[in-house]
């Protein structure tokens, strides 16, 4: 079972080697002549205004939290979907149990929608 992950391992190793090699080679071979304008942040050629670190509005946070909740719903769908075709006589029962699960979360979705949790303005 684990052997099927060997391609993933090879890819991770390959990506790491390439990334390290690119950074390492440019550090070794590239000439370095720093100046004030080169060290400033690149903003499409315009002189930067203020710090790049800006405070995020709290709205992002609500969106992110809602995303996590529905992300977890997806997690529960995954093993269900993998087994669904093979569930044989339990197919209808499995469909109903997942519909109940999704219906309860749908209440939450309707709630968020109506309360304006998805609106930006």
């Amino acid at each position: 079972m684990l052997s099927s992950y060997i391609p993933v391992l090879v890819m991770v190793a390959g990506a790491t080697i390439v990334a390290l090699a690119l950074i390492g080679l440019s550090a070794l071979l590239g000439p370095r002549r720093p100046s004030a304008s080169k060290d400033s942040a690149y903003e499409c050629g315009v002189t930067p205004i203020g710090s790049a670190r800006e405070r995020f509005p709290v709205k992002f946070y609500l969106t992110a939290m809602l995303f996590i909740v529905f992300d977890i719903e997806t997690i529960f769908l995954y093993p269900w979907a993998v087994n669904y075709k093979a569930s044989g006589g339990l197919m209808f029962f499995n469909l109903v149990e997942m519909l109940v699960f999704v219906a309860i979360l749908l209440v939450g979705y309707i709630y968020v929608w109506k309360r304006g949790g998805l609106e930006w303005g």
């Binding site: 309860i104 209440v107 309707i110 709630y111 109506k114 309360r115």
Partner: protein, 510 residues
């Protein structure tokens, strides 16, 4: 899975479905004319849940592949939880109105929190218990911080959440360790998994404890059990995990504080009672006894001394809840002895019911005497109350006397029951220390009573508009006296049933 299974789990299902219905109705309606309708709907579901619990009767029945088990004890607690939810929803209308808090969400959260508490109460499988406790806790965090505009409420919510999340992780870790230790021990000793039970089921754990020699003292199991007990004690607000309780009760509006204090204790102590029934008579070394005695005495001492010098009455109730948690733990301790088990379970059940009534009532008085939804929190506000508002002063006095355990109130009978069970279990010195703690507590409560009746004040009478809280407070006070004068344990036969049919008996394990 069949209809019988759904009936057995019907009480929490009705509460949860009620939460969804209340939420959707609130979204669909626009006018304030439907305000009463939302309350009505929520209470309807609470009553339906109570009826569903009641029809289950006292006999033991398991459902959902032994994931849950319902018997007299569970039925009693489910009815109590539904009643607490209904009373809280009635008593909260004033604060919701005054602070313009969203009402539909509030009712939905109360119903869902109670549903989680009921799942916890009836679960036989620790996995179900964890899901139940999480539903309850997440709703609690939101309710504690519900009054967003007030910094104290937000602080309460944030503190409660951070501590609670950490404790949930410890609880889950403890369950995982128990799962691992039970599985390893049963495989190593060639024991079969009881037919239809999982490794996290209390019945399976009981089998491992009673049939595998040395399992009760194996470090993996003991560490898991102590983590489980400790984190459930946090949910019940027992010292040294009590730091959050006074902050939360002070920060949250009074009806919410009453709800949090009672529901958490009812749910956490009931599942602890179940867990302790399987530890009874088992060889677990001294570790669990030492931990439980330590927690109980620490809570009694910390709770009572903490209550003694408070300026805020809600903080006083917070510390008082810590102390009362300690007395309930003493009852649980007595339930570890096989001889005293039956008496201890009855005593603890009675204690929990009586504590719930007293606490809901006390917080209702705080809301009743408040103005424009602000609670009457400072103890100085109660100075000379006997002259200004005799009815309120007597009502609060009854609750304070009951909390301190004076005869003719229910608080006396409950303490008596716990101490009797403890003495028959052989815990004499523990009882003596607990009595000293009670004496300190007496000072704390009598201080408020003397403020009310024996100190004159120039404060003006504030006419309250909170009729619902008044109704709740007065009826709770009546119950406290009635239950204290009549031997009311006999009025509730389901306690007896719960003792004669404990969730795990020797035959069942086979």
């Amino acid at each position: 899975m069949n209809f019988g299974d759904i009936h057995a789990a019907g009480a929490p299902i009705l509460m949860a479905v009620g939460g969804c219905v209340v939420l959707l109705t609130d979204l669909a309606s626009k006018r304030s004319a439907t305000r009463k309708f939302g309350t009505f709907l929520a209470i309807l579901f609470c009553i339906a849940s109570m009826v569903c619990s009641y029809t289950l009767g006292g006999q033991l029945r398991t459902a959902f592949s032994n994931g849950i088990a319902v018997e007299g004890l569970v039925v009693t607690m489910q009815i109590l939880l539904a009643a607490i939810a209904a009373i809280t929803i009635v008593a909260s209308s004033e604060i919701l109105q005054s602070f313009h808090l969203p009402k539909g969400e509030y009712r939905a959260l109360i119903l869902l929190a109670s549903a989680g508490a009921m799942v916890l109460v009836q679960s036989l499988d620790l996995v179900n218990a964890f899901v139940g406790i999480e539903i309850m806790s997440v709703a609690f965090y939101v309710l504690a911080g519900y009054r967003r505009a007030q910094a104290a409420s937000e602080e309460a919510g944030a503190k409660y959440f951070l501590m609670g999340a950490f404790v949930s992780a410890i609880l889950l870790f403890g369950i995982a360790l128990i799962y691992g230790s039970v599985g390893l021990a049963m495989k190593a000793n060639g024991l079969e998994l009881p037919q239809g039970y999982s490794f996290t089921n209390i019945v399976t754990i009981s089998k491992a404890i009673h049939q595998v020699p040395g399992f009760g003292t194996s470090p993996l199991f003991l560490l898991g059990a102590v983590m489980l007990i400790g984190s459930l004690m946090f949910k019940a607000g027992v010292a040294p995990f009590h730091m959050v309780a006074p902050d939360v009760y002070q920060g949250a509006p009074a009806p919410i504080a009453g709800f949090l204090a009672t529901t958490s204790k009812v749910a956490a102590f009931t599942i602890l009672m179940r867990f302790f029934t399987i530890l009874a008579g088992a060889d677990t070394g001294a570790a669990i006894n030492v931990v439980v005695i330590g927690l109980a005495l620490l809570s009694i001492i910390v709770g009572n001394t903490g209550a003694a010098n408070q300026k805020s009455i809600k903080r006083l109730f917070g510390y008082s809840s810590v102390a009362h948690g300690g007395y309930i733990v003493l009852g649980l301790l007595a339930s570890l002895g096989t001889e005293s088990q039956a008496a201890a379970i009855t005593a603890v059940t009675f204690y929990i019911v009586a504590y719930a009534i007293t606490t809901i009532g006390s917080f209702a008085v705080v809301a009743w005497l408040g103005k424009d939804g602000e609670d009457a929190d400072a103890i100085s506000a109660y100075r000379g109350l006997g002259k200004r508002n005799l009815g309120a002063a007597i009502t609060l006095g009854i609750f304070l006397l009951s909390l301190s355990g004076i005869p003719l109130t229910v608080g006396f009978l409950t303490k008596l029951g716990v101490f009797m069970a403890l003495l028959s279990a052989g815990g004499t010195w523990v009882a003596v220390v607990a009595l000293i703690g009670s004496a300190i507590g007496l000072y704390a409560y009598l201080r408020v009573i003397s403020e009310m009746f024996f100190v004159d004040s120039t404060q003006q009478e504030t006419s309250s508009t909170d009729g619902a809280s008044k109704l709740v407070a007065v009826s709770a006070a009546t119950l406290v006296i009635v239950m204290g004068v009549f031997p009311s344990q006999a009025l509730l036969p389901s306690f007896e049933a719960s003792v004669t049919a404990p969730p795990v008996s020797g035959d069942e394990v086979k």
